[in-house]
């Protein structure tokens, strides 16, 4: 097998039909190349999206109110309503499956102009009101200081936690923001922490560009009464959040006199469901990749087989002569099989390397491109695993053998006597 002569023979046979060998090789090359690039791109997309969401509590759901969609008990459709602070305790008391439940309020940056001032610096940021538990549902890294705590809530302290971007635009890089004051919509708040989001999901604006106040402080300073804009919950371990989601809707609708069949009044997102959909999507992409890739590869292999068959036909006489002067069937078969394997493996290996090379290149370019620190792209680290690469190489050798099988058996059917007979 590793005898130089054998390789020489193979090289001779392939080099003699350069164009055809190249065309055939290209079929296999293209098949593997496509497979690798598609698999890599799919993986990249998956990496990007899952990295952006992985930290998010998977068993969480989020609720917010909209105008009612159905008339009910004397109320017209299109009524404005909102959840309130009592709802939170009410839900906690009535749904034991709830693990965390936190309200969140916000003021937008609408209205234009900047709402945050510090000395000569000013900016326009989302302001949110949060409970300590919020960070357990939508995790954030605390870069400096601390997050909102129970005392902040109880005493309605005028403190705030700022996003990374807020720090960057309101402070000098070397400055320690903790203990400093920011004037937000006319009121001074002391900075207690700086955070960076761990997810790409954003709820009313990115965490990086937000300022979080204690929920109770916000209610008071913004005159919100006991309004709750938004509510986040997580289900206890082992309980599907969908069930809790339904329960919450049912109870809230009842409490606020909303038609049970009203689908619009209380809107929600269920992360579990989103994850499932996303996973389904990725599975679909993966399956599609492999189907298309293997299809292309198969076409390449069939091409090799076909070419080999033609070559065998052309070489009938040559094979006959070889047989007449002492080549055993085994020698002929192994020769043809090896030619086939060499053709598919070499071209496939090329496709593999160039495909992987391309992915690496994309990676490099993406790493070096000057994207702002936290503008995460939904496409990260496109790559194929070693297993995929190795198994496709294995598939290649197998494919080569397979492709050689028909031509080789055809060659075996050539009797030397038939091959040598004059036309």
């Amino acid at each position: 097998m590793f005898d130089l002569d054998r390789w020489n023979e193979i090289w001779n046979a392939l080099a003699k039909n350069k164009v055809r060998s190249l065309l055939t090789a290209f079929g296999v090359f293209w098949g593997i190349f496509m497979l690798i690039v598609m698999a890599g791109a799919g993986k990249g997309l998956q990496n990007g999206v899952t990295q952006g969401t992985a930290k998010f509590a998977a068993n969480s759901a989020f609720f917010w109110s909209e105008q009612t969609g159905e008339p009910y008990k004397g109320f017209k459709r299109g009524r404005y309503w909102h959840m309130d602070s009592e709802d939170i305790q009410f839900l906690k008391d009535n749904i034991p499956e709830i693990e965390y439940i936190t309200p969140r309020n916000f003021t937008g940056r609408w209205g234009g102009g900047s709402n945050v001032i510090r000395g000569k610096k000013n900016g326009s940021f989302n302001v949110k009101g949060d409970y300590p538990d919020y960070i357990k549902i939508d995790p954030a890294t605390i870069l400096n200081g601390r997050w909102i705590n129970e005392l902040d809530i109880r005493d309605k302290r005028k403190v705030c936690v700022i996003g990374e971007k807020v720090f960057e635009s309101m402070f000098d890089p070397k400055e320690n923001p903790i203990g400093e004051y920011l004037k937000i919509s006319g009121v001074y708040y002391q900075v207690i922490g700086v955070v960076r989001a761990e997810t790409t999901i954003n709820i009313n604006g990115r965490t990086e560009e937000s300022i979080c106040l204690p929920f109770t402080t916000m209610l008071q300073t913004y005159n919100m009464g006991n309004t709750v804009n938004f509510m986040a919950i997580t289900a206890k371990r082992g309980v599907p959040v969908s069930i809790v989601e339904e329960r919450v809707k049912e109870l809230i609708k009842k409490k606020h006199v909303i038609a049970p069949e009203d689908l619009q009044a209380l809107n929600s997102v269920n992360i579990e469901k989103e994850f499932e959909q996303m996973n389904g999507l990725f599975l679909g992409i993966q399956i599609l990749t492999w189907i298309v890739g293997i299809g292309t590869l198969l076409a390449g292999v069939i091409g090799v087989s076909n070419i080999m068959l033609v070559i065998i036909k052309e070489r009938t006489k040559e094979i006959g002569v070889q047989r007449a002067i002492g080549a055993t069937p085994r020698m002929i078969i192994s020769q043809i099989m090896l030619e086939s394997v060499v053709l598919t493996t070499v071209s496939g290996y090329l496709g593999l390397s160039i495909g992987v090379g391309l992915l690496e290149l994309v990676n490099k370019v993406m790493e070096n491109s000057p994207t702002p620190t936290n503008d995460r792209v939904f496409f990260t680290n496109p790559s194929v695993s070693l297993t995929v690469a190795l198994s496709s190489l294995f598939v290649l050798v197998l494919a080569g053998l397979l492709a050689g099988l028909i031509p080789a058996s055809r060659a075996m059917q050539i009797k030397p006597i038939d091959a040598l007979r004059e036309e």
């Binding site: 130089l4 020489n8 006489k317 002067i325 002492g326 080549a327 055993t328 020698m331 006597i417 004059e422």
Partner: protein, 237 residues
């Protein structure tokens, strides 16, 4: 060397069967120089192919060097051919993408002799046939006579005991034919059995024994001593 008894061979073609060899007896001793003659379609090539184990037969027995040649599998047949028999064809049958030396060396490749060694041996054989300068030429760059000499070198290189040649001079002009026959005669003088098929009486007359095929059996065997008479006879015919 060769002993054939009651040999039958027919070709099946659809529903028809063509009975070509019909109970043929033949004995050839080691070192003989034999030509097979007969009209076209009389079965000369068929017989030669059976002798060369390129084809099998239906009935009878064929002993080659004391070994019964019957129902050999392809591998055994190939090995026996490689070891015992050298072939020379009318149309040379050189491999077009190999040069003269590589063509000659090919049988040794099947014997797994190293490249260097077999090329060296091939060069020796080419030298003996006066083709040393042509060793690195492709067949397409050689004349018919040169090609046939390359083919002869290839037949000889595995040092077979028998040389089988189907109309070795069929594609050559008469001067070149004579050259080739001289070479075959030399080979025979060195002790090898040479069996050739030919249409030409001149060629046949250069051998030591002529076997005439007719209707699937041997019609006549003309031995060395009778060759002169044979020559006279054909010249008056």
């Amino acid at each position: 060397m060769i002993q054939i008894r009651d040999l039958h061979k027919s070709y099946e073609m659809g529903h028809n069967s063509l009975h070509v060899l019909k109970g043929l007896h033949l004995d050839i001793e080691e070192g003989e120089f034999v030509s097979i003659m007969g009209s076209s379609g009389s079965g000369k090539s068929t017989l030669l192919n059976i002798l060369g184990i390129l084809d099998d037969y239906d009935r009878g027995t064929y002993y080659l060097g004391g070994k019964l040649i019957q129902g050999l599998n392809e591998t055994k047949a190939a090995l026996t051919r490689n070891e015992m028999i050298g072939f020379i064809f009318q149309s040379f049958n050189l491999i077009s993408f190999k040069n003269a030396m590589e063509n000659v060396a090919l049988p040794l490749y099947y014997q797994k002799i190293s490249r260097k060694k077999r090329n060296q041996i091939a060069l020796e054989y080419l030298d003996r046939l006066g083709l040393k300068e042509w060793a690195h030429h492709l067949p397409s760059e050689l004349s018919g006579g040169q090609k046939q000499r390359v083919a002869i070198a290839r037949a000889l290189i595995s040092q077979p005991r028998i040389i089988l040649a189907d109309e070795p001079t069929g594609a050559l002009d008469s001067a070149t034919s004579l050259e080739v026959m001289e070479i075959l005669k030399e080979i025979n003088d060195q002790g090898k059995t040479v069996i050739l098929v030919t249409h030409e009486h001149d060629i046949a007359a250069m051998t030591k024994k002529i076997i005439k095929l007719k209707d699937g059996v041997i019609e006549e065997v003309i031995k060395n001593g009778e060759l002169l008479a044979f020559k006279n006879r054909v010249s008056t015919e």
